[in-house]
Structures are given as C-alpha cells and as structure tokens.
C-alpha cells in the first residue's frame, strides 16, 4: 500500500469540464492515512460531476491520505445499514466515507455523507448539503474540507481558487485566469498581447491587482473579478509593479522607480495617498504584507545580492531576514507569519529553488528538487501548501509542494506555459 504513494504519477483529469490544468502527484507522505471514499449512491442518468471522485482527488492531492480505488472495494455501501466495518478493516482502511445523492427538484440535489472511524466503528461526521447542478464541484470540495479538517485538525483549502497567467510559447498572447484549486473551471479574466504578471488577490477575493507590461513600460491595474472592470492604479514614469494588497484590502504596496531607482511605496486605494517606504540606491522590490498590516517583507539588493528584509511602516526600521544563500527573493508568508517561503539560490550557478524559513528559528530548508528555475511561490490560505512556477521538460508549469517539503504535485497545462500562480483567500 505504501508503494502506491511514493513517486506515483497519478493523472487526474476532469472529463466534464474544460480544464486547462491537470494534476500529477509525484510524492505523498509515507505515513499517509488510508481512507476509502465509496462511490456516491445515485439513481438516474449520469450526473455531470462525480462528487466522490472530486473528494478522492482532493484528499489524494493533499498528500496526507492514501486513497483506496473504488475497484478495490469489497462493497459499495451508501448507508449505515449496508455497512460492514469488517470489510474495511480487511482492506486496512482507517477511515470510510459513504454518501448518497438524490434529486429534489429539477437541477437541485441533496447530498448526504458520513465519515466513519473504521477501527472504533464510530461516526465522526454526518452532513446533508444541497446544491444545484453548477455547485456539484463546490459540494465535493466542501466535503473534502470537512473531512480534511476533521482528520488533520487543519482547515481545508480545497474550496479556494487560484489565479495564474498562461502564455503561448512565443510570448505573444497572455491570459490571466482563475480556476479551482484543482485546476478545474478555468475562467480567463484578462487577455492581452502584453505580458501580465504579479497577480495579487484582495483579501475578500473580489479583486485582482496585476502588472501589465505595455510598450511604454509596466503599469499596475486593479480589476474587479465579477464585473471585469479594471482600473489603472499606477502609471508613473519608470517601473510600476509588484502590487500587494494589504490585509484590510484598503492599500496596495507596490514598486515605483520614478524617483531614481526601484523603491517600495504604499498607496491608499480610497484616498490615493502615497507613502514612500524605502529610500536606498539598491533595488527594492516584491513587497509582501505581514498580517499585522504594519510591516512589509521585501526583496533588496542593498547587501550586494537579493535578500529578504522586513520594514516597519510605523517606524521605518529595516531588518535583514535572510543570510543563507546567494539569492533570496519574493518572500511570501505562511502560517500566520511563522514561516516564509521564497525563491532561493544557495550559491552562484546553482539552481533556483523554493525554500522555506522558520522565522522563529532562522533555519532555511530547500523544498524543491525535481524542477528547476523555480519561482513565484504562493501559499495556500491554510498555510500548508506552496504553489509555484517551474521549468519542467522545457515548459513552464505550476507545481506544488507542502511547506514541510513532504508532498509534491505538478499542475502541467495542456498547452503553452503557466506562470505566476497566486493562491486565493478563504471567502466567507
């Protein structure tokens, strides 16, 4: 059983949706929890989505679970009455999910599921949820979230969205897109012949800030996702880039070089008041907010090579954070500020990888090794997974690794290159 979860290329492909991205799991943890998610009982014409398949894929992608294939199941119970725990102990499953779905009106469904502890023969979770046809995928992810949180204690992030940029090989067409965390239901929100990069989600998940690299130079835009309406925020002389929404959503940190060289600024989106944060002849870029809204992490070349620094917006005090390696850039926080992830090069000429750093202990750990030219790490809102872009087989793909480095999967696009992932927030 454990062999199944090591270095397996498991292709998950959503047959019913026009998914650009597919998932390949390359590594799970050795102590993966064995769980069986029984096919959902349903009578009628085939549904457009397989909710139980979504749950199995979500849990497998987390790397923490070993998923029993439906064909290996001895029975397919849908209710407690049909359930024999002996069957599942024989199959060495620790947990079991049974479920059923029924139509309650045209295009309206009711889903009931139960999660059982096999060894103790005890029900842990039971829920009844309703959904329309378009929400079947969402129901699957919600159930995955509930199971994941019940069994790991960590809030699930399966219902979240990711934003990313796709481009053709010759870099003449760029699309800013949003998809589900599993790559399904991709929606293009901005298309351009100009390069789009550095997408940043507002904390309420309703807006995206990004850079558009027009012929006259880089400009920062904020776009309302629902309406598609975009607003030019910064088009000063020189560079306008690296936008980052503040935790309260009212401000944008960004980089301007209008005053001589790239510096960090903060603009209040409501008052349009500008605050200059850095004042140094070296390159200062890639600001990222800390949860208190009073500090920014940023990348600076002031010590000779790019390293991560932290600045207080209140006092202006600047502190260097990274000392390990030749190049550390594009820091992103994980787990409420306990961890940093970043692009890291240990020495000149070495590959660029994603590294994480425990801020309290100052220890840096390199997380990736299968891919190279790794960049733009983005952390899931539960602080567990890092999605990033990498070169793999001459293409740019998205890949993900857990913050402790144990779980890995690839998200290759079927065509073209994918870059600049930005993991969306929890939307309450």
């Amino acid at each position: 059983m454990s062999l199944r979860y090591w270095c397996i290329a498991f292709i998950f492909f959503s047959a019913f949706t026009r998914a650009e991205l597919t998932i390949e799991i390359t590594q799970g943890i050795a102590s993966a929890i064995p769980i069986a998610v029984v096919p959902m009982q349903w009578q009628g014409k085939p549904l457009p989505e397989s909710v139980d398949e979504i749950i199995r894929s979500d849990l497998e992608r987390s790397g923490h679970f070993g998923i029993l294939a439906p064909d290996d199941m001895l029975s397919h119970p849908a209710s407690e009455e049909e359930l024999y725990f002996r069957d599942w102990r024989l199959l060495k499953q620790d947990y079991l999910v049974i479920s059923s779905i029924k139509s309650i009106a045209k295009g309206q469904y009711q889903v009931r599921y139960q999660l059982f502890d096999v060894f103790n023969e005890r029900e842990l979770l039971a829920q009844t949820l309703s959904a329309n046809t378009n929400q079947l995928r969402d129901i699957g992810h919600r159930i995955s979230d509930a199971i994941y949180e019940q069994l790991t204690g960590i809030r699930g992030a399966f219902s979240t969205k990711i934003a990313y940029v796709t481009t053709n090989r010759t870099r003449t067409q760029f699309n800013l897109a949003i998809a589900d965390s599993d790559g399904a239901r991709e929606k293009v929100v901005m298309s351009s012949k100009y390069s789009i990069f550095s997408p940043s989600w507002s904390p309420d998940g309703k807006r995206l800030a990004y850079v558009l690299l027009e012929d006259s130079g880089s400009k920062v835009y904020v776009q309302d996702i629902a309406t598609g309406k975009k607003q030019l925020v910064s088009a000063h002389k020189g560079i306008n880039s690296a936008p980052a929404f503040s935790p309260d959503g009212n401000k944008l940190a960004l980089v301007l070089s209008k005053d001589g060289n790239p510096e960090i600024y903060v603009v209040d989106l409501n008052t349009r008041h500008w605050l200059r944060v850095t004042n140094h002849y070296a390159i200062d870029t890639e600001p990222n907010w800390m949860p208190d809204g009073d500090h920014l992490l940023f990348t600076s070349g002031r010590s000779g090579n790019p390293q991560i620094y932290r600045v207080s917006l209140v006092s202006g005090f600047i502190e260097r954070i990274t000392f390990d390696g030749n190049y550390n850039a594009r820091a992103r926080l994980a787990q409420d500020g306990r961890f940093l992830v970043m692009v890291h090069q240990s020495a000149k000429g070495e590959p660029f990888h994603i590294a994480s750093m425990d801020l309290s202990r100052g220890l840096l750990q390199i997380l990736t090794s299968d891919t190279f030219l790794d960049e733009s790490p983005s952390v899931s809102p539960n602080g567990v997974m890092v999605m990033y872009a990498a070169k793999y087989n001459k293409r740019s793909i998205l890949a993900a690794v857990s913050v402790d480095g144990d779980v890995r999967f690839l998200v290759p696009s079927k065509s073209g290159d994918v870059r600049e992932p930005a993991w969306g927030p929890y939307i309450d």
């Binding site: 090989r169 010759t170 870099r171 003449t172 390069s195 990069f197 550095s198 690299l213 012929d215 006259s216 130079g217 880089s218 002389k237 020189g238 560079i239 880039s241 690296a242 980089v255 070089s257 005053d259 001589g260 060289n261 790239p262 002849y281 070296a282 390159i283 870029t285 890639e286 990348t299 070349g301 000779g304 090579n305 790019p306 190049y327 850039a329 594009r330 692009v343 000149k348 660029f352 030219l373 960049e375 733009s376 070169k391 001459k394 870059r419 600049e420």
Partner: protein, 184 residues
C-alpha cells in the same frame, strides 16, 4: 541641476556594477523598423513608435548599425567592446538634436520576474547615463525595462541566456512618455 544629475548618474552607474544579472532568453517578437539593411541584431519593436529614417547618416558610420549591447550575468556595467558603438550613437544624437533614443533593458530568465524588471531598468539606465556623459542632451533619451518578458531567444542554456542579457537602442522621433527634464 544638470551637474547634480550627472553626479547622481555616476553614482547609479557605479552602484549598478555591484548588482545585475538578468537572465533569460527569448524569441524576437517583431522586427524593428530600423532602416539599416545591414543590421545584425534583432530588435523588439513598438508598433506605436514613429521610426526615424536614419539611413543617410548611418551610411557614414557603420557602428550605428549595432543597436544591441550585451551584458555579463548579474552585471549592468558597459563592457569595453561596446563603447565604440555607444560613442557612435552619442555622436549621432549630438549632431541630430531632433532624434531620440529609447533604451530597452532586458534580462535572461533566471531569478524572479520583478527583480529582473528592476535589473532590466538598471541596464537601460546605465547605457542612457553613458550617453549623457558623452554629451547627449538627456531630453533625447528615454529608458524602459522589459525584464525577462521579451526575450530575443528562447531556451534555457548559457548561449540563449547570454543573448537575452541586453539593452536595445531604438530610435524614435516622438517620446513615449511626457518627460520634463531628466531626473535620472
């Protein structure tokens, strides 16, 4: 004001030596409407730019055909082999005050997109500063960075990367951005 600007330019140039390293190779997007037939380098063009017919002047100085300056990995300083080329362009601009140049800074793909955007600007500015030191009026010069986003060549090897670490010289008769004075 001018003197202070030049000193500041020197400072920027010197400091630019300490940091640089744009990486990435990419394919050319469009051919520039440069009128030199003997042009050896490919230049990414902006379709909105008006191109100046500099053919007559360039017949007299073939160095003007060269419009791409290359850089070492992680560097922004001008390599000695390009000084003659830059001097030629400087001379042309001094003699043709109605001509303007936009310097485009580029990087190879290594490193982050944002840091490379900044490095590309550093390269473009280094070349611009050099021309100002040669006596060109700053109002004739403009710079823009495309970071690693508009590579001249695609690939992930040293040869490709070296072709992308560059500054492109593009002539135009109209400036892209409204620029009152030069505070670079």
């Amino acid at each position: 004001m001018k003197k202070m600007t030049i000193n500041k330019l020197f400072a920027v140039s010197v400091l630019a030596l300490a940091i640089t390293g744009c990486a990435s190779d990419g394919g050319v997007t469009e051919d520039a409407a440069m009128v030199d037939e003997s042009q050896t380098q490919e230049v990414a063009a902006s379709p909105e730019m008006d191109m100046v017919n500099t053919e007559e002047a360039q017949v007299s100085n073939p160095l003007l055909d060269q419009t791409t300056i290359y850089f070492g990995y992680d560097r922004a300083e001008i390599l000695p082999e390009f000084k003659d080329v830059l001097n030629a362009h400087a001379e042309f601009l001094v003699e043709n005050p109605q001509s303007n140049i936009i310097f485009e800074g580029h990087c190879d793909e290594r490193g982050t997109i944002e840091y490379n955007l900044a490095l590309g600007e550093r390269r473009a500015n280094t070349v611009k500063s050099y021309l100002i030191v040669q006596g060109v009026n700053p109002s004739q010069l403009e710079s823009v960075s495309f970071g690693e986003e508009r590579p001249a060549s695609f690939g992930s090897d040293e040869m490709t990367w070296s072709k992308n670490r560059r500054a492109e010289i593009r002539y135009s008769s109209a400036m892209v951005q409204n620029q009152i004075g030069d505070n670079q």
